[in-house]
């Protein structure tokens, strides 16, 4: 096989048995790898009524055919299981160098099943595989775990691990690699923790075969040249990182403040912006494997109460911990972001859960005594304090660790959770970006911005200009974005490449790499197949049309100011058309003919 190595590891943590399995090429051609192939394996092997923390649940690590190749920005890996936060299919991806290293070590992915009696880590070194004790690592942070494992194995090893948040089953614990890269959303780190699996360590020096060396080189060079020449992927992301979005989303009236309660114009937005991050705290930028964009931020707060160092924050994290909490202290936001990386925790859900608690405090539903502290809008010190309490499930942190929906629901006010399918929406108000509202409502993993990023046409005019305030055309564009994103997530490419290149360039790299005779249309149809497969999983978990919605606030509370003043999200205008374009019935269920067409 080309692109993919063609081999998977199966690790039974209960028995300690490790076996190797071949990947069938016909299956790979149908689902590619990463998100697609990983979800297919998961759905084939795990009964739909399996409890997320049961030993019968499985956790799958999967790379794609382009991962680790010369293709630009192809360093992605994907983790797949049921998501503890949402109960939907859970898949979260990450960059860095771990994914390529796994392939260099001889494997495309790993299927973890069962539960270890005591904490363990998996060590893969050029085809040799062993489970080792991690008892001395349990309780340690991500950086400490990583350093200790590198010292114990190989100085060039790459480490993927959970921190205390995953061990404590925080429902939004992430799986971290190389200390600061995160498969962040949905709580997959809690599944890893439930299996007593602390880490995966890989070291490899092998290669990856491609079908057409000259053709692949030409395709990759063409894509790389286009990315370098593009203003977003060539200059912008490297210079300012994702945080550059703070000001433009705010100026467009789409940056939600104070738990989305008080509008979407933050008068202090510039204090937490990408420009300010560069001016005050940026040490250098950093790229993932084979990436020319280098959007990562190595940052340092040199002095003051939040003196610390690490990486980030990304735009959505800065918003969640900043504007959504009424906080404009970027040093404090950096500090909490660093803590999230150290504990292995999603800063989007964390910040949004803080914001929900702050509004509950405003309404008199929570008090200082009950919280054991002061979680109020604008109090930067409190989010530092409660980040640690949440990761350790200490005191009120135990409630915060279950996310905003369960917190608000336990007090009878679930409407104060700004979430979809119990996962918090990030950073783009669906009242001022109508297409993003539809995107959140239909995302297969709950409130999420990277399943069909309509911010691109609505704000940036890429690849076409679409008025953010209108609903017309959004359903059709979203379907294309969702399908293409499923492809990108399944072949191992970074989603950010799609700012600068499109389906033709991506398809050309995939074809020349794998040798698969797939047309552009067939490749995009594979994205459609993956999307429908995920939808079928969610339907099997009991999700219905009533879950394809938004918090009441976005549907019924008009924005008070800004360019979208008076607007709510007109979801009812878009959802029926979206279902129709997908070939689903009026209840959002895929028609039999559609499933037959997709080979599902």
């Amino acid at each position: 096989m080309y692109g993919l190595i063609g081999r998977l590891l199966r690790v039974n943590l209960t028995t300690g048995a490790v076996t190797e399995e071949a990947i069938s090429e016909s299956m790979a051609k149908k689902y590619f790898g990463g998100r697609g192939l990983g979800t297919k394996i998961y759905m084939d092997e795990v009964a739909k009524d399996t409890d997320v923390f049961s030993p019968d649940n499985k956790l799958i690590l999967m790379t794609g055919p382009l991962t680790g190749t010369f293709a630009t920005s192809a360093g992605r890996l994907m983790w797949i299981t049921k998501a503890p936060l949402t109960g939907t299919i859970g898949c979260a991806n990450s960059g860095g160098e771990f994914g390529p290293e796994l392939k260099f070590a001889g494997f495309d992915g790993v299927i973890f099943e069962g539960k270890a009696e005591k904490p363990v880590f998996l060590y893969v070194n050029n085809g040799k595989v062993e489970l080792r004790s991690a008892e001395d690592l349990w309780g340690k942070t991500v950086p400490d775990t990583t350093d200790q494992l590198v010292a114990a194995t190989d100085p060039d090893a790459k480490v993927c691990c959970i921190g205390p948040a995953g061990e404590n089953r925080v429902l939004f614990a992430g799986i971290m690699n190389e200390k600061n890269r995160a498969a962040g959303r949905g709580g997959l780190g809690a599944v890893m923790g439930s299996k007593n699996l602390k880490a995966v360590v890989v070291r490899g020096t092998g290669g990856i075969k491609v079908a057409d060396n000259a053709g692949f080189l030409a395709a990759c060079t063409e894509a790389r040249d286009k990315l370098k020449a593009h203003p977003v992927t060539g200059a912008g992301l490297g210079a300012y990182g994702t945080e550059i979005l703070v000001n433009i989303i705010n100026a467009s009236g789409g940056l939600p403040i104070n738990n989305w309660r008080d509008g979407a114009v933050d008068r202090n937005a510039d204090d937490i912006s990408g420009e300010t991050l560069v001016e005050k705290y940026l040490v250098r930028n950093k790229g993932c494997f084979g990436c020319s964009m280098a959007c990562g931020r190595v940052t340092k707060v040199k002095d003051g109460p939040y003196k610390s160092a690490g990486e980030g924050p990304e735009y959505e994290a800065a918003w969640a911990l900043g504007s959504s909490c009424g906080i404009n202290d970027l040093a404090a936001i950096c500090k909490v972001n660093f803590l999230c990386n150290e504990y292995g925790m999603d800063p989007i859900t964390l910040g949004s859960t803080f914001a929900c608690a702050m509004e509950m405090f405003d309404k008199g539903l929570l008090n200082v005594e009950e919280m054991g502290g002061n979680l109020v809008f604008g109090d930067a010190a409190s989010i530092v304090e409660f980040a640690t309490k949440t990761a350790k499930r200490e005191g009120f942190g135990d409630k915060l660790a279950d996310g905003s929906y369960r917190l608000a629901e336990s007090y009878g006010v679930p409407e104060l959770s700004m979430s979809v399918k119990k996962q918090e929406m990030p950073a783009y108000d669906g009242r001022s970006l109508q297409g993003m509202g539809l995107e959140y409502a239909t995302s297969n993993r709950g409130g999420c911005h990277v399943r069909g990023y309509l911010t691109s046409p609505e704000i940036l005019g890429l690849p076409v200009k679409m008025d953010p305030l209108v609903t017309e055309g959004k359903a059709a564009m979203l379907k294309i974005f969702q399908d293409l994103t499923a492809v990108v997530d399944s072949i191992g490419l970074c989603l950010f490449t799609t700012f600068g290149i499109g389906l033709p360039e991506i398809a050309n790299m995939l074809r020349t790499c794998t040798g698969w005779d797939l047309t552009d249309e067939e490749i995009l149809a594979t994205g459609d197949r993956i999307w429908n497969m995920e939808k079928l999983y969610n339907l099997g978990q009991g999700f219905t049309k009533t879950d394809d919605t938004l918090p009441p606030r976005l549907l019924h509370e008009p924005l008070p100011e800004g360019p979208a003043k008076g607007k709510v999200c007109e979801l009812d205008d878009m959802l029926p058309e979206y279902y129709n374009l997908r070939g689903w019935d009026k209840d959002g269920v895929p028609a039999k003919a559609k499933l037959t067409e997709l080979g599902l």
Binding site: V232, E275, Y453, L462
Partner: protein, 92 residues
Amino acid sequence: MIVKYFAYFRKDAGCKEETLLLAPLSVLELLNKLSEIHGQRLRKRLLTADQTEIHPDVIFLIDGRNIDFIDGKDTMVSQDAIVSLFPRVAGG
């Protein structure tokens, strides 16, 4: 009117924002005016070489609305408008 600059436009303009006392004028006229004030470097960022079109990599907002969805370069900018100028940069 208030003109706000973002990302590397700040370096080109030498400021984060400025208040200008100008009679109502079109977007294209305003960009030419800003180029006169701040010089060639900003002009190259904001306008095409013949100075008759807005550079395709400029996002121009008036009170938060993208001029692409008003009247483009012919959109009139009032005296009390807040103008935001962004290069086409992104994240997510």
